[in-house]
């Protein structure tokens, strides 16, 4: 009985999600990209992205479907290898965002008082600085490289999650089910993590799909500013290379990198809209 119940909480939204064709396609795209990223990570595909396969700047042909880059490397292999980079950035940034946002938001919302003041103060302080300045400042002190990108993007994105979670926890903390938990002697921690958090988790899921695509898009900007990923292909680096390539007619790197990024960002955008409709009962039927 218990299994059936918990299953239906998550199955119902999933069924509602897959009812729409567009959302199903988006879901398939996300799964496909994840699979490609994992295969690239294990070296099953595109392990040879760094080897020369032809002349410099060959146009797309039957032999090299997406053409070659300045060093004669296959653009197709680079795009596949970049998928790993993009998905890892999306994943790690979402993880950082959620850990910071949920823990601080829940603590502030639940305990109130001085804890809440402190959390709100940190949030307001970070929100007062435009994101681009924060990104620049963080990457400056962290140096260049993938770790800096993870942390900088994570640190600039958690405030929204924190504010949303805090608001939801405040709405929930005086409800009957929490009072009932108090009556049977539940501790603060167990009330917060066992009772309240599962009820606000849908916000986290909606936010993850939004932050995932923000992170992938921000990587391009960081690459342009010279603060991005080093020594590994990424869509941002490939698009950025086009600032000299386009004028000499090399259109394939930017076009295919943009296309690869467009599909996954679009899929996450559609998915986050659909998730909001499926998981947030307040919006249902609007």
């Amino acid at each position: 009985m218990k299994n059936l119940f918990t299953a239906s909480i998550w199955l119902q939204p999933l069924q509602r999600l897959t009812k729409s064709k567009l959302t199903t396609i988006a879901l398939v795209i996300v799964l496909a990209y994840t699979l490609i990223a994992l295969l690239a990570h294990w070296g099953v595909v595109a392990g040879d992205w760094n080897t020369e396969v032809g002349e410099s700047y060959e146009t797309p042909s039957r032999q090299h479907w997406l053409g070659t880059d300045i060093f004669g490397r296959s653009v197709a292999a680079k795009i596949i290898k970049s998928t790993e980079m993009a998905m890892s950035i999306g994943f790690v940034v979402s993880l950082i965002t959620i850990v910071f946002g949920v823990v601080l938001g829940a603590l502030g919302g639940y305990f109130g008082g001085i804890v809440d003041e402190l959390v709100s103060w940190i949030c307001s302080t970070l929100a007062s600085i435009p994101n681009i300045m924060l990104l620049i400042a963080f990457t400056f002190i962290l140096g260049k490289g993938i770790l800096a990108v993870y942390i900088a993007l994570g640190m600039t994105n958690w405030v929204d999650v924190c504010r949303l979670i805090r608001g939801e926890v405040i709405r929930h903390k005086d409800r009957e089910y929490v009072q009932a938990a108090t009556a049977i002697g539940a501790s603060n921690l167990s009330k917060l993590y066992k009772h309240i958090l599962p009820n606000v988790l849908h916000i986290v899921i909606i936010q993850v799909s939004a932050i995932f695509q923000i992170a992938i898009k921000s990587e391009v900007i960081l690459s342009y500013l010279g603060l991005g990923v080093q020594n590994s292909p990424s869509w941002g680096v490939m698009i950025n290379d086009a600032k000299v390539e386009l004028l000499s007619g090399v259109w394939w790197q930017i076009t295919f990198a943009t296309l690869a990024m467009f599909l996954i960002v679009l899929a996450f955008n559609i998915l986050s809209d659909a998730l909001r409709d499926a998981l947030d009962p307040k919006l249902r039927g609007k």
Partner: protein
């Protein structure tokens, strides 16, 4: 609580936030970033030269004084001089701001009008084909990288077709257009999607209010209900969104300005990043935060005057 109490309290509350912003800037640039003197003087500097420079830059002061200097600069706007060009930073930023404004103001107005208009249209046809198509198109617009818009726009419209200048800037009136029209169009495309979607949600939220049912019951047409009654009430979140975005608009031009060679705030910021010109980055961070806080307080206070329903708490 009266409105004056509220205003004063709201103003007082900005002090800890400003202190927090300055603390963060201090930690990043004065503590973690480390000693910039080797970077500025090169490898062959003597210890004496380095000490002299540290003194000149105020880095030998106790940490508390350094922090207070940043905090003070938030009020006096005295940020010292740039390490790279030795110019007064505030003068640099002032001249850059004027250039950025010629680019940002038209783009800001066009984006505001277009996105509100499109949001009304989508709300009018909510759930229908037009609404769904508009949402899909805006989502697609949002899914393309800013860099791609700039590079392709510049390549196709300026380089291939020659409709606009590829790069550069001329402050005189008719000439300025050929430099700023294309960057402005790109700025509009970059922000119209998310704005339109946000306004659409705000407008749809209002549609469930009782006054909307009353207006409909009076026999008003749907279009009048939307544009006269709903829009007026939706204007508060819409205006907040517009005003709060202003600092990001000014800095958001960083990519556009650097690609089109426009000497505005974005160009100054990029130059500062490339030269590790910390005082300039610091000054721009402090200024944009102060600007944001002031705008935030101003909108909050304005609304309590305008809208009697807002509770003062």
């Amino acid at each position: 609580m009266g409105i004056y109490h509220y205003t004063i309290r709201r103003l007082l509350y900005t002090i800890p936030i400003l202190m927090g912003v300055c603390m963060l800037i201090f930690l990043i640039f004065n503590v973690v970033a480390g000693d910039p003197t080797p970077l500025l003087l090169g490898k062959h500097a003597t210890a004496k030269q380095m000490a002299a420079l540290r003194h000149e830059l105020g880095l030998d002061k106790p940490w508390f004084t350094q922090y207070l200097d940043i905090l003070k600069s938030g009020f006096t706007f005295d940020f010292g001089r740039s390490w790279a060009s030795k110019q007064k930073i505030i003068a640099m930023l002032q001249s850059g701001a004027w250039v950025s404004l010629t680019l940002v103001i038209p783009a800001f107005i066009v984006t505001g009008l277009l996105s509100i208009g499109m949001a009304l249209l989508a709300a009018f046809y909510r759930g229908k084909f037009i609404d769904k198509t508009m949402i899909l198109i805006t989502v697609m617009l949002m899914s393309i990288s800013a860099l791609t818009y700039i590079l392709f726009g510049q390549w196709l419209l300026a380089y291939k077709l020659g409709w606009f200048e590829i790069a550069g800037y001329d402050p005189h009136f008719p000439e300025v257009l050929s430099y700023i029209v294309l960057p402005s169009i790109i700025l509009v495309i970059l922000s119209i999607g998310s704005d339109m979607r946000f306004y659409r949600t705000v407008i749809l939220d209002e549609m469930h209010q009782d006054y909307v049912r009353t207006a409909r019951a009076k026999g008003l047409t749907e279009w009048i209900v939307l544009s006269k009654h709903v829009l007026k009430n939706a204007m508060i979140p819409i205006a907040t969104n517009l005003i709060i975005q202003i600092p990001s608009w000014l800095l958001g031009t960083i990519l556009v300005e650097s690609f089109f060679g426009i000497p505005g705030l974005g160009g100054i910021l990029l130059h500062a990043i490339n030269n590790s010109d910390f005082p300039v980055i610091k000054a721009m961070t402090v200024l944009s935060a102060v600007f944001y806080i002031v705008l935030n307080v101003a909108t909050d206070i304005l609304y309590t005057w305008l809208d009697p329903r807002i509770k003062l708490s």
